[in-house]
Symmetry: C2
Subunit: 139 residues, 2 copies
DNA sequence: CCGTATCCAAAAGGATACTG
DNA sequence: CAGTATCCTTTTGGATACGG
């Protein structure tokens, strides 16, 4: 039947693409690494095991929900280990696995690049905004 | 006046924190780098200047809106240059700046880590899901 | 060819209340 | 202490139509 519309065909093509992209190894992990709090959690655990409340205080601005979610995702990915001491009150510690530690220098490299080039980026933004502001009001 | 509620005070504290966080150099750039399409755009331009349509075809799944938005942000940050040839039809090319090229190895490092450790992460996920599935149905 | 503008759906993320 | 569950706002991103 020729009842497939152009929109339907485009939709199908997009789904095939999505399946391809979902199968792409680096994309899956890049998505996880860009999870907003992952970098900070990794940094918080760089020096060894920390309790939930310690991580929470170190990162400060993170909500309970997002911190737990991030920690669970990283645990699931084998980046960190969650260990529960069944005392009262219960004590929960998080520490990086060897896999997590291997990721640390990569995250650090991104952070280092950011800190090293922040001035350049700021200058570029100011310049861009200036030029753009003039262009908007030039008549 | 003592009409400030606990919620209000918490809100103010949060805003102070946000201002502090917003001022943190690495966070601003980490946010930009995690913009979903940034990595792919950078890779697409790794070999030199490309036209808009070339980049679009290389990345495939990206919508016109997101591609343009990503390119504009990166241009604003001084990561790439946009050059317009006023022919008919107009021809627009994008190429990395030296700053953008300095970022390339960092992005590549993340991608390399992802590809190198994808198997471990997959195995960890399977294990986690397996254990979790059992825990859910153990009684 | 290379966009911009608008509308709308989905996902991310915070606030709050409650639990073992 | 260390969460879970729910509600609600904000953000993100795709579809579509239109402009230079």
């Amino acid at each position: 039947m020729a009842t497939t519309t152009a929109a339907q065909r485009r939709q199908e093509a997009r789904q095939e693409y999505d399946a391809f992209m979902a199968a792409c190894p680096s994309r899956q992990l890049l998505d996880r690494l860009s999870d907003k709090w992952v970098g900070l959690v990794l940094s918080a655990l760089a020096d060894g095991e920390r309790r939930y409340s310690e991580v929470s205080r170190r990162i400060a601005g993170v909500s309970q929900k997002m911190l737990t979610q991030t920690l669970r995702n990283l645990e699931r990915d084998g980046i960190l280990i969650r260990s529960i001491t069944p005392s009262v009150p219960v004590r929960v510690g998080y520490q990086l696995t060897p896999l997590g530690e291997s990721l640390l220098p990569v995250v650090q490299a991104v952070k280092d690049w950011a800190e090293a080039h922040m001035d350049e980026v700021d200058a570029a933004r100011d310049h861009y905004d200036e030029v753009n502001r003039r262009a908007s009001s030039h008549g």
